[in-house]
Amino acid sequence: MPQPKLISLATAVDRFTQNGVQYASGAALPIGSDAIVFGRELLRQGRNQLHAIFHCNSQQLNLLAGAGAVDKAECGFSGLEVFGFANGLRRAVETGVTQLEDYSNLAMAIRLLGGAMNWPFVPATVNIGSDIQYRSAFSPDEYPATSKIPMITDPFSGRQLGAFQSLRPEVAAIHVSMADPLGNAIMLGTEWSRFELSRAAKKVILVADEIVHTDCMRQFPNLVRIPDIVVDAVVYWPFAAWPQSSPGLYDVDENHMRSMNKALATDETTQQYLKDYVFSYQSHRDYLDMIGNKTREKITQTETSFLMDPYRKWILSADEIAKLVLEGER
């Protein structure tokens, strides 16, 4: 029988990560679902020299890099969409703190697919012929780079293709809308590459906005794209993606998206941000207060809230979850 896997956020970071870990975020692009709170906890526990595997940048990578905790990053899109350039990541790259290896979004997704399949590489006809292929931040002296995306020959047609090295991140923190205590998860909105990542990563931690009874998963088994058998731990943390959005639950907090990114533009203001929004809370209650009642009220008035309607009757209360966490940590 599968066992409940609920543990606290602090325990998850303590148990599954260490300095220098190859850490992947399971996110839905730069302003959507992402376990941003896991990144905050990495900083609270002083983790550094991270090798970040982010299919796309998000405020999490922006924060981690801006705080100087990322040595290496591999990424597709590295901005913040309508919110502009990611100032923390940008500063870390421009000052040489973070080596950022560029790929495209499809390239990152198929590299995770390759990791999930345990293939050494995946062939494709993207990225070739551009400087994504010819320039390597990890091997800067190789130009044109031949080891980043080497060309291979299709043994059937003789056609030339790019070979993309598979990714098997040591640990992934994957944000999901809801999980049951065993680690079955439903994601609302685009999955982006969370499906592939959940099979590619060696350790998988789910960070869920809601915990639901397993009966919910039995009602909608086709929607459970991450089953418990690939999951190592489940963390319950409402508003885990804040200030980004979680479809069905809350919208982007536009004000904080901007103020956070502004703060990450300089080292001095980043230190202030860390003090105010990373080291400032002791409990989830504190975290919610930090976001503020008014803001939470505003962002939960989302046009997408009807997406949660089918699942509401299975949502577990905070007390029930707390009991399970106590058991899980025993």
Binding site: P30, F77, E81, V93, A109
Partner: protein, 265 residues
């Protein structure tokens, strides 16, 4: 623009000119920001059966509440008929060759339609890769769209610094060195069919693939466009004026652009 009957901005003209390039029924992929507004404008106006998607795999959706903050955001997730993933949208539907048309943006574009969205360097990068002076957003899905979509529309503000003879870093390939160089790589997609700017429309010469001026707007002129282009811009013999936005077009665009993102000057 006081001499004209209708009041509209350059950005709105660019979005409408881009939207006019889309045909009903096409499978189309839109990036974030302006390209999304242009794409959904076409759907609201003349291409109701366009099969629109975003690279996250959001299908059947139409934006609510104004310019979506991102291609995955709640403003484009409130009425979707299917949510899938990146491998599906960018892989199964774009890299496979199924997608008819994509719209991408550019920080910098060159005479062969190569796009740079990765960084600004002081001079050439050189043989040793060095970090850019100004780091930009990277390629994102635009590289995949530039490689795989049947044709690509590039939207970009027309300023000299953005129109370089040769981009420092190719994030998303156009026609590379021109002529038939693109064909050598075996890309699935056909390359950029137009660069649509805040001043006019550039299209590639069928032989050399060099982009030349095809059309200007009622409020711009050939000289102005040439002086804002960082290479010796050739002018097509059939150069012409783009028709002004109609009332219906503006109405449709502003329905999508509810928060007026394109009306800010």
């Amino acid at each position: 623009m006081n001499s004209h009957k209708l009041e509209y901005t350059r950005q709105e003209m660019m979005a409408i000119a881009t939207g006019r390039e889309l045909r009903d029924g096409e499978l189309a992929i839109f990036g974030v920001g302006l390209s999304m507004l242009a794409g959904y404008f076409a759907q609201a106006h003349h291409a109701p059966n366009i099969r629109a998607m975003t690279e996250g795999g959001v299908y059947g959706a139409f934006p609510v509440g104004g310019l979506p903050w991102g291609i995955e955001c709640n403003r484009i997730s409130a009425n979707a008929t299917s949510f899938t993933n990146g491998v599906d949208a960018l892989g199964f539907l774009v890299a496979s060759g199924r997608c008819d048309v994509g719209i991408i943006g550019a920080a910098q574009v060159d005479m062969y339609g190569n796009v740079n969205t990765t960084g600004i360097w002081d001079g050439e990068i050189g043989d040793h890769y060095r970090t850019p002076k100004t780091r930009l957003t990277g390629a994102g899905g635009a590289n995949d769209i530039a490689c795989g979509a049947g044709r690509v529309l590039i939207m970009v503000a027309h300023e000299p610094k953005r129109f370089a003879e040769k981009v420092t870093y190719i994030s998303s390939p156009g026609y590379l060195d021109g002529g038939n160089t693109r064909e050598r790589y075996g890309f699935v997609g056909g390359g950029p069919s137009a660069i649509i700017t805040t001043l006019g429309i550039l299209r590639p010469n069928p032989e050399t693939k060099e982009f030349q001026l095809d059309a200007y707007y009622p409020f711009s002129n050939i000289e102005e466009i040439k002086s804002n282009t960082g290479w010796e811009l050739k002018v097509s013999p059939s150069v012409h004026v783009v028709p002004e936005p109609t009332e219906d077009e503006l109405k449709a665009l502003r329905k999508v652009d509810e928060t007026g993102a394109l009306r800010k000057q």
